[in-house]
């Protein structure tokens, strides 16, 4: 039973991380109908920036809690800045181009950012310090769930609530929803669609950065390649839940997290990544709109 519970919570943690990344995919897709291939890289850059800040501040002898907060904030700022810039360079000039062009551009951006970090830093795995102290009250349950996992779950929950608030109740949130329904119409009623798209990229990148820092701290090491697989899986989660739908992305992430956790726990860990892909193929064949997605009607 403990093993089951461990896998269950492990899946939940995994799912939370996927959710933080999947949100960015789903929000961007909701508005410009583009798979932002570089999104995984934004997450990786968040983790790297955090590691760099942590290393510098540790040498300066700051205390851990302060480091955690500062590194988190800077990572979020930088990831957002990267997300914003990527959109301006690689996607904005292609707003009216065929989808295939934007997609290829996105792949190029992903390739570029990976190699940028690889060349500027290193191809080796770097140890990432565990910044979350072990909570004492958690000790009896330590074999089932760690403190870091608790922090991940809580942070994800908070981010979700904030995001829901942003989209449901703020002006920019309304503009985002309007733009995702109909870009031209939104423009006609005076919404600055370019700004909405920028904000979407910034918000998506920020949540990805939070995910990046959390998982790096959980796994304990990072390299330039972590964004790619995590990005793909988060994308799978977003599609599973119904791309364009925010609750869908969260639901899809948890389902994927659990599937992977149980499949690797009870079946085999060799084929961990295969499960995600098989999942994706099956969903796309049988229910392309995902669990909570709106069915897309092709206008003729």
């Amino acid at each position: 039973m403990d093993y089951f519970l461990e896998l269950f919570l492990g899946g939940l943690t995994r799912g939370s991380i996927y959710a933080l990344i999947a949100l960015g995919y789903t929000m961007v897709y909701g508005i410009i109908e583009l798979i932002n291939f570089a999104h995984g890289e934004i997450y990786m850059i968040g983790a790297f920036t955090a590691l760099i800040v942590i290393s510098v501040l540790t040498l300066m002898g700051m205390n851990t809690v302060a480091i955690l907060v500062i590194a988190g904030v800077i990572a979020v700022i930088y990831s957002s800045a990267y997300g914003y810039t990527v959109e301006k360079i690689a996607y904005k000039p292609l707003r009216n181009a065929p989808r295939l062009s934007a997609l290829i551009s996105a792949i190029g951006m992903s390739l570029f950012l990976q190699n940028y970090v690889l060349l500027a830093q290193t191809s080796d795995f770097l140890p990432f310090p565990n910044l979350v102290p072990d909570f004492e009250f958690m000790e009896p349950y330590a074999h089932i769930i760690g403190s870091t996992e608790i922090v991940i779950l809580l942070t994800t929950a908070v981010v979700m609530v904030l995001l829901t608030f942003l989209i449901k109740f703020t002006t920019i949130g309304k503009a985002m929803r309007a733009a995702s329904q109909d870009k031209t119409m939104a423009m006609l009623v005076g919404i600055n669609v370019n700004r909405v798209i920028s904000v979407t990229f910034v918000v998506g990148s920020a949540t990805a950065a939070i995910g990046g820092v959390l998982i790096a701290s959980h796994v304990g090491m990072i390299n330039f390649y972590i964004g790619f697989i995590a990005g793909i899986k988060a994308f799978v989660a977003a599609v599973l839940g119904g791309i364009g739908s925010i609750p869908g992305a969260v639901l899809g992430s948890f389902i994927l997290g659990w599937t992977e956790s149980f499949a690797t726990g009870y079946v085999s860990s060799d084929y961990e990544d295969v499960f995600a892909f098989l999942f994706l193929v099956l969903i796309l064949i049988f229910r392309p709109s995902g669990i909570l997605g709106r069915t897309e009607k092709n206008k003729v």
């Binding site: 190029g108 390739l111 190699n115």
Partner: protein
């Protein structure tokens, strides 16, 4: 005033990029030895570089916008690009072809074995590029798992030779057939998918094949792969390494010519037109009586055939295969070849393969930045020149008594 504004903007861009690249490019950390290295020079380079690049970017964006506006108002869209004018001019084109042909034939006798080996790789990529060109360039199906078919071909030769002792020439058609078969196998489930989903699913397919090869030890010998694969023999005579390499070179030249011939004929046929129509508008295509499923499947199958074949040659050339040769990045390099050369354009793809594969080999200092540059190529080409360096030219027909309006390319 205009220039001043531009400079101000360029300065802002420059400052922004200095900020953006600051942590990753300036600070280098070594958490193991707890050292932090500050590389301020990088910041300076980025600052100056992005300042100038901002002008270049702005210039090209403006040019592109003006081109779009011209096209909209129905004015003569830009004159045929230089490369095309050269290709159309028979006086230049024919001799150039002859010179290239002679050069290709003499190559292994003029240059060293090392050079010949590099050229063989380049030719393998030409073939891969032409194959992927059918799927991506003509049919408009973004296939990111193309490398899987290449792996199928390579492992087909390795395994069939290991278990049954089949020779290169026996496996070559088998590799092609297996490639086509896998193309159809992949094609069926993705028939209904839209472009972007297709990209992810094919990427997944490629990764699944690689992961299986890595983990299914009984079948594929896992990550260590299969070694001692024989090079092709000439009428049953075993050749020395040197002679075999030259032999493979000529085999590759022959296969490339075959690919060019077949792809060229397909492109200019009922099937090729259907592929292009499918790329342009799926719904209209179906409404005009074209079977979408069938057309997609032929594209996948005929694209994968060439990957299967070149996989066989690859295995014979390196005498060793393992899963590490078939990562997603191979697929992306091949995509890059197609995009740089010009989607749908045979000459473009050949040029793209030669440039992208040979350049990093000969510019050693540059080779480290290879993948970085490939990323840039993909973005820049899509933004500024989606047709590629040598865009595809549509065939022009002439009719008796018709007034020739003469554009169309």
């Amino acid at each position: 005033m205009f220039a001043f504004d531009r400079i101000k903007k360029a300065l802002l861009v420059s400052a922004w990029f200095m900020f953006l690249t600051f942590p990753i490019l300036v600070i280098r950390i070594n958490p193991v030895e707890r050292i932090v290295e500050w590389r301020w020079i990088n910041m300076l380079l980025i600052g100056v570089g992005s300042f100038f690049l901002s002008f270049v970017w702005h210039y090209f964006i403006r040019r592109k916008e003006m081109g779009a506006r011209r096209a909209e108002t129905g004015e003569e869209s830009e004159a045929a690009p230089l490369a095309q004018r050269i290709l159309k001019n028979k006086k230049i084109y024919r001799p150039a072809l002859v010179v290239a042909g002679i050069f290709a034939l003499c190559f292994p006798f003029i240059f060293s074995l090392y050079q010949t080996n590099i050229m063989i790789s380049a030719l393998i990529y030409v073939m891969l590029g032409l194959g992927l060109n059918i799927v991506v360039g003509l049919a408009g199906l973004l296939d990111l798992g193309y490398v899987a078919f290449y792996a199928v071909g390579a492992y087909a030769y390795a395994l069939l030779n290991y278990h049954f002792g089949l020779t290169f020439w026996m496996v070559l058609p088998i590799g092609a057939g297996l490639g086509a078969l896998f193309g159809i196998l992949l094609g069926f489930p993705v028939l209904r998918l839209r472009g972007d989903y297709l990209a992810i699913v094919t990427l997944g397919f490629g990764e699944i094949i690689r992961i299986i090869l890595e983990n299914w030890n009984e079948f594929s010998f896992g990550p260590s792969g299969i070694s001692n694969i024989p090079r092709p023999s000439l009428f049953g005579i075993d050749l020395s390494v040197h002679d075999a390499t030259i032999y493979i070179y000529y085999v590759m030249i022959g296969l490339c010519l075959l690919t060019i011939f077949v792809v060229n004929r397909l492109q200019d046929s009922r099937i090729g037109r259907a592929w292009i129509a499918l790329r342009e508008d799926e719904i209209a295509c179906q409404a005009m009586g074209i079977d979408k499923a069938r057309t997609k499947l032929t594209a996948f199958a005929l694209g994968a055939t060439w990957a299967g074949m070149s996989g066989v040659v690859f295995a014979a050339k390196t005498t060793f295969v393992n899963p590490a040769s078939f990562t997603i990045w191979e697929s992306i390099i091949i995509l890059c070849i197609v995009v740089l050369g010009g989607m749908g354009s045979i000459i473009g793809v050949i040029a793209g393969a030669l440039v992208l594969i040979l350049m990093p080999e000969y510019l050693r200092a540059f080779s480290e930045y290879r993948m970085l540059a490939f990323g840039v190529v993909l973005v820049v080409m899509m933004v500024f020149r989606p047709g590629g360096l040598i865009p595809n030219v549509r065939r022009i027909y002439t009719f008796k008594g018709a007034t020739e309006s003469g554009k169309g390319g």
